[in-house]
Amino acid sequence: MYLVDRLACTNRLTARHPLEKVLLAGGLLGTNIVVPPWPGALLVLGTITAAAIGVARLPLREWFRVLSWPMGFLLAGSSVMALAVDPASAVVSVHPEGVQTAVLTSLRALAAVSCLAFLALTTPMADMGWLLSRAGIPLPLIEISFLTYRFAILLVEMARHGVTAQKARLGWHGPWRAARAAHLLAAALLPRALERARRLETGLTARGFTGALGVRQRDRLPPSSAGIAMVLGTVMAVATAGVLL
């Protein structure tokens, strides 16, 4: 979470209007699920990686690090798809059709994750919230989302300190101790989160809290026509190439 937050606030596209980035990521995400995965997904992956590394100037290492996070599910899910069960003998074997489905689905999923990663790594959460409020999402929902995000960062910090303290006492030595330590830590976090909420509530009530949290927004320039045109042109070009190639 820290890595995503840090990169979102320090890349070369941070100051750009969030709509431009949402259109690029969303457009390529839509293209990715509509066009055939070969070569469509490969084109989407290449385009969004070029935008992330070449335009937003995200560090290559961090970009691939974020893309490696969902690999566990990708490998587990794909390996299951590659297998086939014979209904008569219940024998499990590798099936060519299953292997093809697994490879194409994995490629499409990787391209889709890269679109999400681009959006998350180039757009600060405050900009996303502002865009959602402009899109007509009820304010209480946006406020709850922001508070959840804020509390999550606090809890991650608490969890990190907790893990350090447990490791210093060999609490994570071996799988059983690790499982026990993780559960103890998880059990301790909710009361602490609720305690934080209670303290914040007391503080806000003392300042005349009526239900709305006023947050100062930074000045934002309107989206540039050239930027929007370039984004839409890129998405159209990728979609056309994905269908024709």
Binding site: I33, A112, C115, A159, A179, A197
Partner: protein, 210 residues
């Protein structure tokens, strides 16, 4: 375990979004009504949402050698009711997709239905049925079954999208459940125990405060 971004074919993504949408809309109405009457609940709800989000990032070693994580939605459903948890689950799933690359936006409908609708409703119903007799056992069973139903629904969603080349949807369902089972059954039991510990700590703190 959520279905990853881009995994589902477009027709399935639309279908599950359509199925999940009424639950989320109903939940939003319920939540807005709740907050209009008690604005300060916003902070408690956010704390529970954050707890669910952090739990999903806290990997627990599992039997298969990989790592898994609790869902935390069962506890939320018991505290605030399933309609509210449909909304909080949606918020958590969006953050998980954007911040942890876990789940996705095109698969959001499918993940909402399994984790924020089916699991919480089953957990809440089991707790409602058993709470008058053995409250702690009902709590444990509610969370265990809520987690198992979440993963069961995920297996069904994957099986419908990717039928087995030889044995069809049924074979695919058996395959996915077999792969998830060794990880998810111990995980569901441990989440049930974790919820009991959390509730015990919670009750102890409340007694200490009063």
């Amino acid at each position: 375990m959520h279905i990853m971004e881009g995994y589902l074919p477009v027709s399935h993504a639309i279908l599950w979004t359509t199925v999940a949408a009424p639950f989320v809309v109903h939940g939003i109405r319920h939540l807005l009504h709740l907050l209009a009457n008690r604005p300060s609940d916003k902070l408690t709800l956010a704390a529970v949402g954050a707890y669910t989000l952090v739990l999903s990032a806290l990997k627990v070693p599992s039997v298969t050698g990989s790592s898994s994580h609790p869902t935390g939605t069962g506890l939320g459903a018991l505290l605030f009711g399933p309609p509210v948890m449909a909304v909080m689950g949606t918020i958590v799933l969006i953050f998980q997709a954007l911040l942890l690359a876990h789940g996705g936006l095109t698969t959001l409908g499918a993940n909402i239905f399994s984790m924020a609708v089916a699991g919480p409703w089953v957990a809440w119903l089991i707790f409602r049925l058993g709470r008058r007799r053995v409250r702690r056992v009902a709590l444990f069973l509610a969370v265990v079954m809520g987690t198992l139903v979440t993963y069961g629904v995920t297996a069904v969603q994957l099986a419908l999208a990717f039928p087995d080349p030889l044995s069809g949807v049924t074979g695919a369902m058996v395959k996915f459940l077999t792969v998830f089972g060794p990880t998810q059954i111990p995980l569901a039991i441990s989440e049930g125990l974790l919820t009991l510990v959390v509730i015990n700590i919670f009750i102890k703190n409340e007694k200490h405060d009063t």
